[in-house]
Amino acid sequence: MSTEYEIVIGLEVHAEMKTESKIFCCSSTEFGGDPNTHICPVCLGLPGVLPVTNKKVVEYAIKAGLALNCQIAEFSKFDRKNYYYPDLPKNYQISQYDLPLAEHGYLDIMLDDRHKRIGITRVHMEEDAGKLVHQGATMASAKYSLVDFNRTGVPLMEIVSEPDIRSPEEARLYLEKLKAILQYTDVSDCKMEEGSLRCDANISVRPVGQKEFGTRTELKNMNSFRALQKALEYEVERQIEVLEDGGRVIQETRTWDEAKGITLSMRSKEEAHDYRYFPDPDLVPMVISREWVEEIRGTLPELPDARKQRYMTEYGLPEYDAEVVTGSMELSDYFDEGLKHTGNAKALSNWVMGELLKYINASGQSVANPEFPIPAANLAELVELIDKGGISGKIAKDVFRDMQEKGARPGAIVETRGLKQISDEGAITAIVKEVLAKNPQSVEDFKNGKDRALGFLVGQVMKATRGQANPELVNRLLKEKMQ
């Protein structure tokens, strides 16, 4: 009998903070720009320069810490993490070691119908490094390499989870929730494709029932939610296979190869750095007043879980719907905007979760984009049209397709295309009579108790009216005529 294994995962997430200037100098944090245009002597680490902490960075990190239910330290400091790499101009990174800004937090994820709480060990601040551009495939094989220091000194938050995650899917859900919270809190853009949200994972497996953790590996280079889950799934299988073959998992850092769909060894524990952390003597320790923390707490927006609760209690949405709609702040804002134009929250959430998400995924568009072709008010108007009997659900899907033409309002589409529902009893009666005359067998079947025949007949009437007949009216009239 084969052993059952338990998976243990902890995530280390780096999120760039969206401050205007860098963490220790006045240079711009703007993404892109020609190489080495957002730099100054301080972020270049030239001889004699000194760092000065950007207060906004501390504020944003406190805000994120509060949103993640952390305790904010009263006393915190910056430390130097020493290692040599050509993208690191001082050959040390200013980071936080033993006194991080925030600790002991958590976030909740929803797993099928269960809630699960994932602990957050700490949130700390640090500076980003620069970017190497190799004239060749790697630094080793390149003829030469160039360094772009635009990103050097961009403020980062490192958010470390407890090893509470038990599956690759949970890991993805955790990261999605974390991204949503950071976006709601407005401290980070969280664009994985631009590198403003990065995720490393520590993963191990152990036989179910064993108390000690198994030997872990650290995974890097997962650049999307999907990549995170795939890499972890691969690594679980790899580690179990090693153990099943009687081997030992080696403590090492591994990189995810997206193209090959495998993880590869980067360096072993023996090659691991001794970072020689020590308090940065150029920066004085921070004393963080409770008044300031409370002031920042007062600026926190409604967070995903609070919104979810609001949707459930105020609008009676099922928990599943509320979870999906609050999954990203932009979607949730969109939903809130729609609710200003319709009272039918459930119908609106159905459209958002169904047609709208399908369209977003297919088109790659963002609802937050001011150019987004379907403003929330238009979708709400569509819901209202259906509710007020203006059009049927089937026609509505048609109308939705036309709404993807920028800004086209559903009422206008229905008007110009003449899709308005036919609720004129006389007109429908005429068509019903025609259909009944053409389908005597179905009439016979219905009379013999075959309910399916009614459906067929309704369909024929709808077809004849190009879907515009009021379905309830069609039903009633058919039944009446067949009595």
Binding site: P47, V52, P86
Partner: protein
Amino acid sequence: MRLNQLTAHELHEKLKKKEVSSVEITEAVYKRIDEVEEKVKAFVTLTRESALARAREIDERIARGEEIGTLEGIPVVIKDNMCTEGVLTTCSSKMLYNFKPPYNATVVDKLNEAGAVVVGKANMDEFAMGSSTENSRFFTTRNPWDLDRVPGGSSGGSAASVAADETVYALGSDTGGSIRQPASFCGVVGLKPTYGTVSRYGLVAFASSLDQIGSFAKDVTDCAVVYGTIAGHDPKDSTSADFEAPDYAKFLTGEVKGLKIGIPKEYFIEGTDPGVLALIQDAIKKFEDMGAVCEETSLPHAEYALPVYYLLATAEASSNLARYDGVRYGYRDESAEDIITMFRRTRSEGFGEEVKRRIMLGTYALSSGYYDAYYLKALKVRTLIKQDFDRAFEKFDIVISPTSPTPPFKFGERVDDPIQMYLSDVFTISVNLAGIPGISIPCGFVNGLPVGLQLMGRPFGESTLFRAAYAFEQNTGYYKVKPNL
């Protein structure tokens, strides 16, 4: 007296009365440099053209009848570890042999605003690591009192240039005694201010928590004027104190009646030159004659200052000096085929022996498994040393000691024995660890070699140091004696 021999406050009076011009003063300084620099070798770089241009500007200002400050139009020398925009800043290291910063240190900006005329950049021990200036990668500076002897260090070039009248005053930096010890060796006044009162922005870091910029001058008055000019809060330095420098001139009263002076018994130890000890005893007597009250006190953790310093300073240095890797500026080994070899060769060749020794010591002290036993323990003892001073200053206004255990020593005497070299800072190091101010003033001669008296004060207590130092100076006059060059 020639113009280059005068003090800033004396020259200022002459400028105001239009008896002399800034150009004349500056030319007198360069004439002296032309005469003696070959012997003294205090300068890494001379900035003759820009200095004279500056002097002409000041003269025009005076001609227009504008008010001028005390340092306006007066020549100054800057230690070569303070950044000067567009002017070589080498730290006397091969590593920065070609480095021209695109910015000024805050002190340089402040001197420029005050109208100072920068004569040149002074030689030093490489990256300020040393006590004799023998660790300069370029050449050795000589003591103007005896050319066979060291000027002290690490600010040896600054001290020697002032003693040799190649400038009116100079800036230095002091991490463990690098201003006070060379001031003592060269017979000039040297102040290491309270940590945080002078901005470190643009000072190439050796040990950030200990480094402090200060002044060398021919008398206490100049020293106080310069300090008043360069001190003050700087938003570019997070460790800079929220502090406005007062006008220190008003503390130079010449009297010390009732001043309480502590004499730490731990500083009067075996190994100190008997001639030096005798001069310090004379100085104590002098203070008593002037009405001060001198009593023995104790700084019980003094003996740990040296080891604590060599753990903390080297630990910080190992990190501060990591940036010199050949990637962006300064020296680079061009023969390497890969980045790791480039790093290694650049640093092996770019740094001298003492710098490498300290980087290795510091790296070791911070290493995993040793951190608690060395670095952390040293931090704790540093607190004890600071508390020793706090206790002493509950009772005393200042504490005095020799600046260095010996008069200037001969070249080569200590280079092969790092511990002997380190011991020449044994009386100055505690001041940096405690973050308090210390000043060295001339207090006599042993066999024709100058000896310094160290006065230590409360944090931000520079005014009391100036008051005591000025009274001593005016009642003794050692500062007026000039070396024969």
